[in-house]
Amino acid sequence: MAGDRKRGGTGAVADALDGAWTAAMGLTEPPMRALQRAIGAARMPWAFLAPNLAFFGLFVFLPLLIDVWFSLTGGPRLFPSQRPYVGADQYRHLLACGNYLDPSTCDQDRFWRAVRNTAEFTLFQVGAIVVVSLATAIALNRRIVAKGFFRAVFFFPVLLSPVVVALVWKWILQRDGLLNAVLGAAGFGKTLFFVSPGWAMFWAIFVSVWAHMGFYTLILLAGLQAIPADLYEAAEMDRTPPWRAFARITLPLLAPSLLVVAVLALIKAVQIFDEVFVLTGGGPGSATLMVVQYIYETGFSGVVQDFGLAAAASVALGVALFGLTLAQLRLSRGKEGAT
């Protein structure tokens, strides 16, 4: 009885939804049909693309163009027409360096420190993400109880906002925080994690791996599940040791997924900002200053809003990202070709 009523209830909701859907159809279809008659079915894909492309154009590509213009101009004025043209001065300024490996010899030493930090962060963070996600995916792919629960646990931090992630960890890592209490109980003295350049970078990497690994784990898990089980069964019959099965079966067959993970993580890592900014503020000194933070500070939060220099730096970052994305495209095309 109760079950029937319940089913009746959800049925009513579904009916209402269906009704609304149909009504929306009735409202939108006549103009769209008229449009199709006017421009012809062959041009309809452009009609479907138009709103999205208009938004991209207005809020991504137009700002990018303005950014390029900003990078060729100087002064504190905001409106493009009021900014004096300075040619390639901003780029010359940004790139002037005695020795690129030693930021102290560079005109914009903070930019080059940021470049070095971002490179270091990216290298270790992407490496750690690949290793940890792979280990977790393999563990989750085994015959275990409460699989859904464990999967959920590792995925949970992905949904938290960067600010929340940073605050959660800042609270633990501060001078009188939980970690120092635990270390104190184990006989260690208090460590000031955000005053030592090495520790600050370590925690910046650790926290961002903590926050994002769940997402990559799911991609790898899907990749693992796509590997035919009979391959492992055959290996087990041949008494192949597990590590060997891992090297001979898992790794080669998972390679495309691993590549996707590495490239996606790479593109994200180069753009890192919020989490590290809230966690360490870029300090100590400029030990965890990243390129995006440099851009933000130069163009936005400084006393003099140096839009020109910030724009030059963001164009440089854009070029780097473009290169990485092209590499990703090439690699994923290679992957499609292989399968």
Binding site: Q36, F48, F56, F155, V164, W171, N180, W210, A311, T325
Partner: protein
């Protein structure tokens, strides 16, 4: 109970292998590492400022007990100290001057006792400091900020779903000249995070007259490259015969999109909807720049004002972090299975 456990842990056809032990050890450590910090934050959010400043921190929220004195509305901490006769007394700490603490009997304030300040111990009891939640929520226009956040989140998600699915439909179903170029353009916009084009994007929004309007927050992020790709990947897996059959029936392209492709894409749309809700709910930098007056603030912006220049009021900050985290946790609890399978099938964020 034991039987159930044994059943649950029973290995199919073989005993416990060392890799099983390793797996469970690893996963348990994972649970501690992933949930622990958030739980610690939630626990801490119920502590009083005094308890928060304590080191080493206690696990549970102990708060000093306070009493009122007759003829006085202020509350004074209750402490224990050694009296003149050597017996331990429990009295109210009226005032501390230099190294001397002045204690009075809560029932009879005329009975005062002067003792060295470092010999007193506060009397503590377990208490959840709900005021960490109540005070900030009382002191500002919470319903309005909540409404602004909900409005932005819902409207933006609806627009995102509509225009992204239209674009994905065009890119997945049609063969047309320029498709590669458009795909590349959409991909390219992945590389322009808002932080980089903050100033020029502000300029555009300013020229459109959308500064300090919720629409100025909603519209710029409505077209997401991620959304388009996610939906396109999903639509590519759909059987093309369905579309062809509908065309034979002379259905308009819009009708095919609306009546056939959209309903079939429901799982992918749901994943995008969830992500869009997360993005919008957690969005911070862009609203901070575009919304200038408090009547338009979203929840995240309002909460940010608890971090003053001069002091971080950790007790409020922790409590408000829990408040912003809660909707995410609820959505997650209900939809996690869905999200997981959605990501696994589409492979996109």
């Amino acid at each position: 109970m034991n039987k159930a456990l044994a059943f649950a842990l029973r290995r199919r056809g073989r005993g416990w292998h060392w890799t099983d032990v390793l797996t469970y050890a690893y996963l348990s450590f994972g649970v501690l590492l992933m949930f622990g910090p958030v739980l610690w934050l939630a626990l801490s959010s119920f502590k009083t400022p005094a308890a928060l400043a304590e080191f080493p921190p206690t696990l549970l929220p102990w708060a000093p007990q306070t009493v009122t004195l007759p003829g006085d509305t202020a509350r004074y901490p209750l402490v224990t100290a050694k009296g003149a006769d050597g017996a331990t007394v429990t009295m109210a700490l009226k005032r501390r001057i230099g190294l001397v603490a002045i204690l009075v009997d809560p029932k009879d304030p005329s009975k005062a006792l002067h003792v060295p300040a470092d010999s007193t111990r506060p009397v503590r009891r377990l208490r959840l400091a709900f005021e960490n939640y109540v005070d900030p929520l009382k002191s500002f226009d919470f319903p309005r900020y909540l409404w602004n956040s909900v409005f932005v989140t819902l409207v933006a998600t609806l627009i995102t779903l509509l225009i992204n699915s239209m674009a994905a439909y065009a890119l997945a179903i049609y063969e047309f000249k320029g498709r590669g170029l458009v795909t590349l353009l959409v991909m390219a916009s992945l590389m322009a995070p808002i932080t980089i084009i903050l100033v020029p994007a502000y300029l555009v929004v300013n020229e459109l007259g959308l500064v300090n309007s919720l629409w100025g927050v909603i519209l710029p992020g409505a077209a997401t490259p991620t959304g388009v790709f996610l939906l396109r990947q999903y639509m590519l897996t759909m059987p093309r015969d369905l579309v062809e059959a509908a065309r034979m029936d002379l259905a308009s392209e819009w009708r095919i999109y609306w009546r056939i492709v959209m309903p079939l894409s429901a799982p992918a749309l749901a994943v995008l909807a969830i992500f869009s809700v997360m993005w919008r709910w957690n969005d911070f930098l862009w609203p901070l720049v575009t919304l200038t007056t408090s009547d338009h603030f979203t929840l995240q912006l309002a909460l940010n004002s608890f971090q003053g220049e001069l002091q971080v009021r950790w007790n409020y900050l922790l409590a408000m972090t829990v408040v912003t985290l809660l909707p995410v946790a609820i959505v997650f609890a209900f939809l996690q299975r869905f999200i997981a399978s959605g990501i696994a099938t589409t492979g996109m964020k």
